[in-house]
């Protein structure tokens, strides 16, 4: 387990802790973003191979022996997708926060009890 994997999992737990303990809706959204970042780090670190370079064929990487010189390109591609989706979801969540604030003039999650049971 590399340091990056460890940091990724640590960020996931920090994010969950933040989402569960904070009352401010904006901070809950920030907690979600931290989880997101942690998951990206874990995914990238899984595709990492020690001593290899980025999956781009340049003068440093020969075309024919590329398979033995580069890291896994698939997790990088997945993380790129995940970052974009995460951005879209964060924007949508912040929009909900704006709407909720307009309704109640409050950012405290305790003021919204409709979905509580």
């Amino acid at each position: 387990m590399t340091l990056v994997t460890f940091i990724g999992f640590a960020l996931i737990f920090i994010g969950i802790w933040g989402m569960l303990t904070r009352k401010n809706i904006i901070r809950i959204i920030i907690g979600f973003s931290i989880i997101d970042t942690g998951i990206h780090l874990v995914m990238v670190s899984i595709g990492y191979l020690p001593g290899r370079t980025a999956p781009i064929i340049t003068s440093a990487v020969d075309k024919n022996t590329a398979a033995s010189q580069i890291v896994d390109p698939i997790p990088s591609a997945l993380v790129l997708t995940a970052i974009v989706i995460g951005l879209a979801i964060t924007a949508l969540m912040l929009t909900y926060a704006v709407r909720m604030y307009r309704e109640r003039t409050s950012m405290n999650i305790d003021d919204y009890k409709e979905l509580k049971w």
Partner: protein, 271 residues
């Protein structure tokens, strides 16, 4: 107290859940078979130097089309939730301290109840800096998505850089008006052209979103890798305009339309 306890228990249970995953991660020494075949055949098959790009745009092109669709739906959701007319219906919103409004007011009919405070003018530094940086950021964004098949980068990254250029402009100019017609026109055309190029792949090449509908060209040059630069440029334009739209939707509108005429920045431009 009991809440804190449950929080700790939840985190511990979650840690227990991922513990096997953490312990079973063994560092690979070889590429996975799929990745190895992409690395061996990708450069010759598709002609793209950046293997991540060839995975995103061609091998997993359908996923990227879905990703663009998700981004589009999220943008549509933001625009729908912060739409303008809802402001006029509810008086409740007028009481809140922040006069944040959903969209840009093109007609200049700001609800007067909203304008409790006028936005502060941007500082000289921000104004001059935005004028200097805006063209550079646009150029850099275009560079990133045009070279997506050669260097790290691509449509999504380039689009975000372009959107950040517009964000800078909106921060510097309180009364900046976005031409929504141009924005939605560019967005629709690029999304449509992306799908058309994908469908052309069925008829002219091996399948949907195949990049070999255009000649592969010389490996490593700008005009190579078939349709990949074209597709990534379209994605870049689409992402750039979509995110600009999100920023414009979330932006606070000027308190008094007349006041905004006395903008701190010397000139205004329509984009």
């Amino acid at each position: 107290m009991i809440k804190k306890f449950f929080t700790i228990v939840t985190i511990l249970l979650f840690a227990l859940m991922v513990l096997p995953l953490i312990r079973q991660i063994v560092p690979f020494t070889e590429l996975a078979p799929v990745a190895a075949s992409y690395a061996e055949n990708g450069p010759d098959e598709l002609g793209a130097a950046n293997l991540v790009t060839s995975v995103i745009v061609t091998y997993r092109g359908l996923d990227t089309l879905g990703e663009v669709t998700v981004l589009f739906i999220a943008t549509a959701g933001v625009g729908f939730l912060l739409r303008r007319d809802e402001e006029n219906e509810t008086d409740k919103a007028a009481e809140e301290p922040t006069g944040s409004d959903g969209s840009l007011d093109e007609a200049g009919t700001a609800p007067s109840a909203e304008s409790a405070h006028s936005p502060r003018k941007a500082s000289e530094l921000l104004c001059s800096g935005s004028m200097l940086l805006f063209p550079l950021l646009m150029l850099f964004g275009v560079y990133i998505f045009l070279h997506g098949h050669l260097t790290p980068g691509g449509g999504f990254q380039g689009g975000v850089v372009i959107a950040s250029a517009f964000l800078l402009l909106m921060l510097a100019r309180v009364s900046f008006h976005l031409n929504h017609f141009v924005i939605s026109f560019v967005e629709s055309i690029s999304g449509f052209a992306y799908v058309v190029i994908g469908v052309l792949g069925i008829f002219l090449a091996a399948g949907f979103l195949d990049n070999r509908i255009l000649p592969l060209g010389e490996f490593g040059s700008l005009l190579s890798a078939g349709a990949i630069p074209l597709i990534y440029s379209l994605v870049g334009l689409k992402v750039g305009t979509e995110l600009t739209n999100v920023i414009a939707t979330m932006k606070m509108k000027p308190a008094h339309p007349d006041e905004s005429a006395s903008d701190h920045c010397p000139r205004e431009e329509e984009v």
